[in-house]
Amino acid sequence: MTRSPLTRTALATLVAAGLLAASGCGLSGGGAGAEEARRTGEVSGAITFRTLQLKPKFTAYVQGVIDAFEAEHPAVKVKWEDVPGDGYNEKLVADAQAGALPDVVNLSTDSFQLLGDRGMLADVARLDGAVAAEYVPGAWEQFKLPGKGDGVYAYPWYVTPEILTYNKDLLAKAGLDPDRPPTTVEQFFDYAERIAARSGGQYAAFMADPKGRLPGDWQKMGVPLLNAGRDRFAFDTDRAVAWVERMKDLYAKGAMPRESLLKADDINQLYGAGKLVFGPGSPGFVRDIRQNAPQVYARTGVAGAVTGTLGHIGIYAQSLGIRKDTRHPDAAAEFAKWVTNGPNQVEFSRNATIYPSNAKGLADPRFADRGDGQDAETLARAIGAEQLKTADLDANTPVQWTNQVGDAVVREVQRAIQGEQDARTAVRRAQEEANRLLAAGTRR
């Protein structure tokens, strides 16, 4: 028996319609409207714990922390899953869409902000308000969200503050005092100008890629990123324009490697080859440079982060979020608290270049030890810890500064740095595009 062409067409149409209907299902978002979990006082159940690229280097440490927790709470079973760094956020997005976020999840600053902003994380201040005192105040405050009151949406985990790393020999060659590195953004640019004038093209001061400096520099200089209502970008100011003009001028004078404008260059490689005065502002980099370029490490100086009028420093914070509708809020909260407690964080810092967000952890003597004042790695640890205790840490990039906004601003600034448009036009156009993206985002 055979089917008529009409039947075949009808069949094909039916299949296509079914697929279209099924594809329409992809329109529904998941998780955001979920009911928030409430504690019952019963620490039990099976919970999932997801970390970001900690295996295999830290397998023993993390498993040890889990085993100890399970021994303390026999009614809890922790299933640990570790996900590679590449595509971590994409996986979180997919899981959030599917309503399949882990109970306890390791979040970086951007994933925390986006998931928190979309109401997918539990308010840990409500779950466990008393725990706030255990953390460095600035770190706990980091996990509040604009427009969400006093809620705190993640437990602070390990943090890395921004520091300044520099090649002392190159600084001296440029006629600058290696013992007096720059302390403000403006002074940093002055140093760069001197370096460009003296280096003869043999080395450069820093990377031109605006993405690496924005919006941090603007925040440090007191440029308002958002208006008072936090519903429009407001960085189109004389200070922002002056910053772009300075970058353009320095680029033209050769203070930065030409290709570094496009982030095509590797800063570690350039610094390690002795072609860059200022290296990455991360304490972890100091350890890397010691291993990969010992000669340059010997000439590396470390100082507090370059700041601005507000005295802010940049901070990269990892946190542990709790899935808003977790079935086991008590177990999840107790576990997150366990992982982020003082002793566990100090132990972690012995294995990795990280700093505890936990006040007791940060008070550990190893973070105050400056050694003989000559070893860059020891100094970096002490300087970073000192900054964490005292610096204002609320310099977080606002959640409205998304990847798309950052890219759009960077593109306009790149054009200005290359001289394709003037600085004022670049900042104005950048703000227009950023506001358009923001408006499109709030229409969801």
Partner: protein, 297 residues
């Protein structure tokens, strides 16, 4: 002659039963995502939130966006430059390495090496060749050809052409293999007869080789056109994540990635640009098909 009882009892759905596993895979991994893209392109869907139907808004926005037109122009320019190069140069290469001489396998392998190298590795190698303090600029400056380094990677137009160079370099060996297969099917008797009639190598190439490999040239043209419209890695590696200074070297796939990536990604808008790229690709594929049919007729 009796009728085969197997044929009498055959059900209409029997062939579909055999096709089912394959069709299911195609439906699941090709058709469904495609249809989903079509549906999403008419919505304001974002990465973490469901969308609402917005009609042709996304398409209107794309067509009114100067960035879209810059990317579309770059994609078409890429195609117009890369396709002729990838149709002709691998053919010339295949003719050269077709000769049966000792050690020719070594040359064939050497020309094929870039094909198996990862696009990222190839991009990084070319980055070091083309950067302002790279090999080419160092040689040019040493020879006095230029006084200032040529901004191969920091000028949008030059960056686009640099990326084209990488695409062509990487594609040469790949399409050379196609042509080697086609050249192997050209009857030797045709060349022998032409040689007897006094035709030289050049004449034989244009009068015998080209007509014989023309279907393969059309295939290579279509394949390389589709690849050219999908180019992303070369631009990304050479020009960074902005797509060149100010994003001036972005192609359509680059724009799709930027629009749809990250937590704030505009899925609906990215899908609309994807559909426009699909239509552009379809148009060029149909053009190739038409040329191929015209040739057959």
């Amino acid at each position: 002659m009796g009728t085969d009882p197997g044929l009498v009892h055959r059900r209409w759905w029997t062939p579909y039963l055999f096709l089912a596993p394959g069709l299911l895979m195609v439906a699941l991994f090709s058709l469904w995502p495609f249809l989903n893209t079509v549906v999403l392109s008419f919505t304001d869907a974002r990465v973490l939130s469901g969308g609402h139907f917005v009609g042709l808004d996304n398409y209107g926005r794309a067509l009114a966006d100067p960035d879209f037109w810059t990317a579309a122009r770059n994609s078409v320019l890429y195609l117009l430059v890369v396709v002729p190069c990838l149709v002709l140069l691998p053919l010339a290469l295949a003719v050269l390495v077709q000769a049966k001489v000792p050690g020719i396998g070594l040359f064939r392998s050497a020309f094929y090496t870039p094909v198996i190298a990862s696009a990222v590795v190839v991009g990084l190698i070319w980055q070091w060749v083309l950067r302002s303090d790279g090999l080419v600029n160092t040689v040019f400056q040493a020879l006095g050809v230029v006084s200032e380094p040529v901004p191969f990677l920091t000028d949008s137009t030059l960056l686009l052409f640099s990326a084209m160079l990488v695409t062509v370099w990487k594609g040469l060996g790949y399409y050379m293999v196609f042509y080697l297969a086609a050249l192997g099917n050209v009857p030797a008797s045709l060349h022998e007869a032409a040689a007897l009639d006094g035709a030289g190598p050049l004449r034989r190439f244009f009068s015998i080789t080209i007509p014989q490999v023309k279907p393969m040239m059309l295939l290579v043209g279509t394949l390389s056109a589709v690849s050219a419209l999908r180019v992303f890695t070369e631009i990304y590696i050479l020009g960074g994540e902005s797509g060149g200074p100010g994003g001036g070297a972005r192609t359509l796939p680059f724009l799709i990635r930027q629009a749809g990536l990250g937590f704030a990604g505009e899925t609906g808008y990215a899908c609309a640009i994807s559909l426009l790229l699909f239509l552009l690709t379809l148009a060029f594929s149909l053009l190739g098909h038409r040329l191929s049919r015209g040739d057959e007729e």
